[in-house]
């Protein structure tokens, strides 16, 4: 391996650290690399997508409530005339003739009363038409010609139950879910690993005490904890991390502690102890790195848990509030619309699932790369 890195030979003082090694091996893992690309693309879409998308994430299109995903533009050809007729009816106009000329519609309309020129607002406010104009009034103002351009829009992922573009919302949701998935997981893992390693390494009474604290926290009614946070601090994005972090590190701590019990009997740890390395040093240099295998695997499981937990927090009023959204919220909405509006479930699920898949393969790659015995 060194042969391919002549730098190492030229500068032998700079040894290859565990981390350099791990990085190289991770990059050699094709599944992991592909996953990193996928993850990067999703992240990029979440950050840039809402700016690039032609729709605002909170724009309500009242004429497009729950329209299916489609590559073709809306309105579909067969929607134009009925929609126009409906609008004319609301404006109390009768259509004598209706003509579609490319992207424009022209209609001759009559009314029993005088036609109010404001009626074009009915046409304009519709999401289907734009640039409406009315002219060629007859003498008694009861006959006129109404023109309007068809306003084409694309909804590649369909729309939700308020007629908002699901694609933009899925991108936007990605920001929330990726942030919470990443940050809360890091919080949970940091606390969990340090706590678990300390507990397991120190052992004896301290271990017992520390683990009983975990038991207590594990048993407390989480929902009340959340409700309490909402009541006292109102809705707050930071609190969400606290709430999630506060529960999710518990499992981590247990697993790391278990691993530590085995590791601390290993020869190299005992050697370090014999050499008088302080506890903190042993935990940091020997215990924690060696627990990383299961930790990484567990992390890839924690991310989906956290992302979905967020939707439950939103239910209790702690998570994101409308019009912001998250994948968890979108998917739980989608699950309720399974029959009838399946696209509301499918597209956010694709994003969540591919993110998690990518994370899993990266996790496996990391685990393999970090494995100290696998060199």
């Amino acid at each position: 391996m060194t042969a391919t890195y002549p730098n190492d030979i030229e500068a032998p003082t700079k040894g290859r650290s565990l981390w350099d090694d791990a990085r190289d091996r991770l990059l050699a893992n094709r599944a992991a690399v592909a996953s990193m690309i996928v993850l990067a693309v999703i992240t990029l879409l979440s950050i840039v997508g809402p700016f690039v998308s032609p729709h605002d994430y909170d724009a309500v299109y009242r004429d497009y409530v729950k329209v299916p995903a489609s590559l073709e533009a809306y309105p579909k050809p067969d929607q134009v005339q009925p929609a126009f007729e409906g609008l004319a009816k609301r404006a109390r106009l009768t259509i004598d003739s209706f003509q579609r000329d490319g992207d424009q519609v022209v209609a001759e309309v009559t009314s029993r009363r005088e036609i109010d020129p404001r009626t074009i607002r009915y046409i304009d406010r519709s999401d289907l038409f734009t640039n409406a104009s009315i002219g060629d009034f007859s003498e008694n103002n009861r006959f006129a010609v109404l023109r309007a351009d068809i306003n084409y829009m694309h909804f590649y992922f369909g729309t939700d139950s308020n007629g908002r573009d699901l694609m933009t919302r899925t991108f936007m949701a990605g920001r929330v879910s990726l942030t919470i998935g990443l940050l809360a997981t890091i919080v949970a893992i940091t606390i969990g690993v340090l706590y678990g390693a300390t507990s397991g390494y120190l052992g004896g009474r301290i271990d017992q005490l520390m683990m009983r604290v975990v038991d207590v926290l594990y048993s407390l009614p989480f929902i009340f904890f959340v409700i309490m946070l909402v009541v006292f601090f109102g809705r707050n994005f930071v609190l969400m991390f606290i709430a999630v972090g506060a529960v999710e590190w518990l499992d981590m701590a247990r697993i790391v502690r278990g691993q530590t019990l085995t590791i601390k009997r290993q020869e190299y740890v005992q050697a370090a102890e014999a050499m008088g390395v302080p506890d903190r040093g042993i935990i940091r240099r020997h215990i924690v790195p060696n627990t990383l295998g299961p930790v990484v695997v567990y992390m890839t499981l924690l991310v989906p848990k956290v992302i979905l937990l967020e939707s439950f927090l939103s239910f209790l009023g702690l998570g994101v509030q409308e019009p912001m959204t998250s994948w968890g919220v979108l998917i739980s909405e989608g699950a309720r619309n399974l029959q009838g509006a399946a696209w509301m479930l499918i597209f956010p699920s694709i994003f969540l699932t591919s993110t998690l898949f990518a994370l899993n393969f990266i996790g496996d790659g990391l685990r393999d790369a970090l494995d100290p015995k696998d060199r």
Partner: protein, 527 residues
């Protein structure tokens, strides 16, 4: 694994065999929409309990399949000229253990529900009975209650003041009787299937919490010969999507409430089995009259005007609600046409222009927006409605921030006079009378008057209506009150509820009605 699979197959075969032998038994599987909290008719408070209780017990007044009041345990009755004394003649009926139903049972039952020791949540419904409120508040002994068994067949009920909807109250689930001897013997455990004695068409055999309640035919019921069903299983499930799927799979005959999300699917595949009917309830937004921003009546009117109710009803609620321009739902008894808002027939464009002018006059526009906080209890429909309404208000220069909490937190906040601008709420009538809607914002109604509306003129009208015997005059007075309501807008009425049921084509005798009550005794299941 394989072994247990075989055992399972065997069990299934056995079950199939037994169901063949019992082919004569007619079973109705009803989705009950949720868990009953109790099956004690005096502790009851919700519709999930009402559905079951009305099958098990029968009060003085019954309800026909189409929701009309009919004689129940009382065969006939007379009302004194001043409208305060009701004398009921009981029919020959029996409890499920063979005991006759006597007037004393009703005397006992009505005393029991007013007894503070019972802890009845809905005792208030029967407060029009003389001394009821005082008994319930431990100010008088329960013997002082205005209910007297003259003899076994005659019951006399005296009221505090004339109450034109009193028979409707007796039909309410709180008016159901209990079997005194059983209650005395078993105390609160009288509700247990092994103890209970009922006087209705069915009797309970099983209550599995979070699962189902099973009731079977009561052979001693006076109308037993006309009851077509042998057994009713009430499935107490909350998950609406699951209820529809179980209906599709043939596991349920009736779905209590079709969720809005599933309407499109239901309409496209089972339209012939879908029953949508008006229901006695109003969906509204309470406006805090103590909030500085909402002090101006023009602002409140503008907010109401700009709501496109047709869009909400048709698109957001997929046709499961109807538009509301009055707090009292149309079709209610003792009323006539409600006092609709003036803009009911106006075009949306005119309404928006007018609303914009009103807000402009109050100093709000898009550059100086009116910032409102909208609270709602977490629920998919409430959320969608809130988003849509916020979107309708936005062009007028109203900026809405939303806050959702779980239902207990939401209502506790409103009731405890918490700070808010706009809050979602809904009201389902307990009885078919406008009073049951208009009393919500009486200034002394601290529990329901979330708006903290305080208008002595309104209160005076409501008092006057309560003292008026003549139904038409009473209706007029209440209508005047509703006009004030629609002028001052303590609540913005947005939609009226509808009942939305799926009823299998195997079912007959099921008639949609305003009360949305459907006793199993009227229903038939064909194979």
């Amino acid at each position: 694994m394989f072994k247990s699979l075989r055992v399972g197959a065997l069990a299934a075969a056995l079950m199939a065999a037994t169901s063949l032998t019992a082919v004569a038994e007619v079973v109705l599987h009803r989705d009950n929409g949720g868990e009953p909290e109790t099956l004690d008719p005096h502790k009851t408070s919700v519709t999930t309990e009402n559905n079951i209780l009305k099958d098990m017990y029968e009060g003085l007044i019954g309800l026909s399949a189409d929701g009309k009041l009919i004689p129940g345990m009382a065969e006939s009755w007379t009302i004194s000229d001043d409208g305060t004394v009701y004398t009921f003649n009981l029919r020959d009926a029996k409890w499920s253990n063979g005991d006759p139903v006597v007037a004393g049972d009703f005397e006992y039952s009505l005393r029991r529900i007013m007894d503070p020791a019972t802890g009845a949540k809905y005792a208030t419904v029967l407060y029009p009975i003389k001394n009821a409120e005082k008994v319930n508040k431990s100010e008088l002994p329960k013997e002082e209650l205005g209910v007297k068994a003259i003899d076994d067949k005659t019951l006399e009920i005296t009221l505090e003041s004339p109450t034109p909807y009193f028979l409707g109250l007796l039909q309410h689930q709180t008016g159901l009787p209990v079997h005194p001897a059983t209650v005395e013997e078993h105390g609160t455990d009288f509700v247990r299937p092994e103890n209970v004695v009922t006087n209705g068409a069915f009797i309970i055999t099983e209550f599995v919490p979070n699962s189902h309640v099973t009731v079977v035919r009561n052979e001693n019921y006076y109308g037993n010969d006309d009851v077509q069903i042998d057994k009713v299983v009430f499935h107490n499930i909350e998950d609406r999507g699951a209820a529809v799927r179980r209906f599709e799979a043939g596991e349920f005959h009736i779905v209590d409430e079709v969720p809005t999300e599933q309407m499109a699917h239901v309409k496209s595949t089972m339209a012939d089995q879908l029953l949508v009917a008006p229901y006695l309830g109003t969906y509204y937004y309470a406006l805090n009259h103590e909030s500085e921003k909402l002090k101006d009546p023009g602002v409140r009117q503008a907010l109401s005007m700009a709501i496109d109710r047709e869009f909400l009803a048709d698109e957001i609620f997929a046709g499961t609600m109807s538009v509301a321009y009055s707090i009292v739902p149309p079709g209610i008894d003792n009323y006539g046409e409600p006092a609709y808002a003036e803009y009911k027939g106006q075009s949306m464009i005119d309404r928006e222009d007018e609303a914009r002018e009103l807000l402009e006059a109050a100093g709000y526009n898009e550059s100086n927006p009116l910032k409102l906080e909208l609270r709602y209890n977490t629920n998919e429909n409430h959320k969608n409605a809130a988003i849509a309404i916020a979107d309708m208000w936005k062009p007028l220069g109203v900026e809405v921030s939303m806050l959702n909490t779980d239902v207990k937190t939401h209502y506790a906040h409103l009731r405890d006079q918490g700070d808010f601008d706009v809050a979602r709420a809904g009201w389902i009538g307990d009885y078919s009378d406008p009073q049951n809607f208009l009393f919500l914002v009486e200034s002394d109604n601290t529990g329901f008057n979330y708006a903290r509306y305080n208008n002595p003129e309104y209160d005076a009208l409501m008092d006057k209506a309560a003292a008026t015997l003549d139904l038409e005059k009473r209706a007029d007075i209440m209508k005047q009150a509703e006009v004030l309501f629609m002028r001052d807008l303590p609540f913005i009425p947005i939609l009226h509820y509808s009942s939305k049921k799926l009823v299998s084509d195997k079912i007959s005798g099921y008639e949609p009605n305003l009360r949305d009550e459907h006793q199993s005794r009227w229903i038939t299941v064909s194979e």
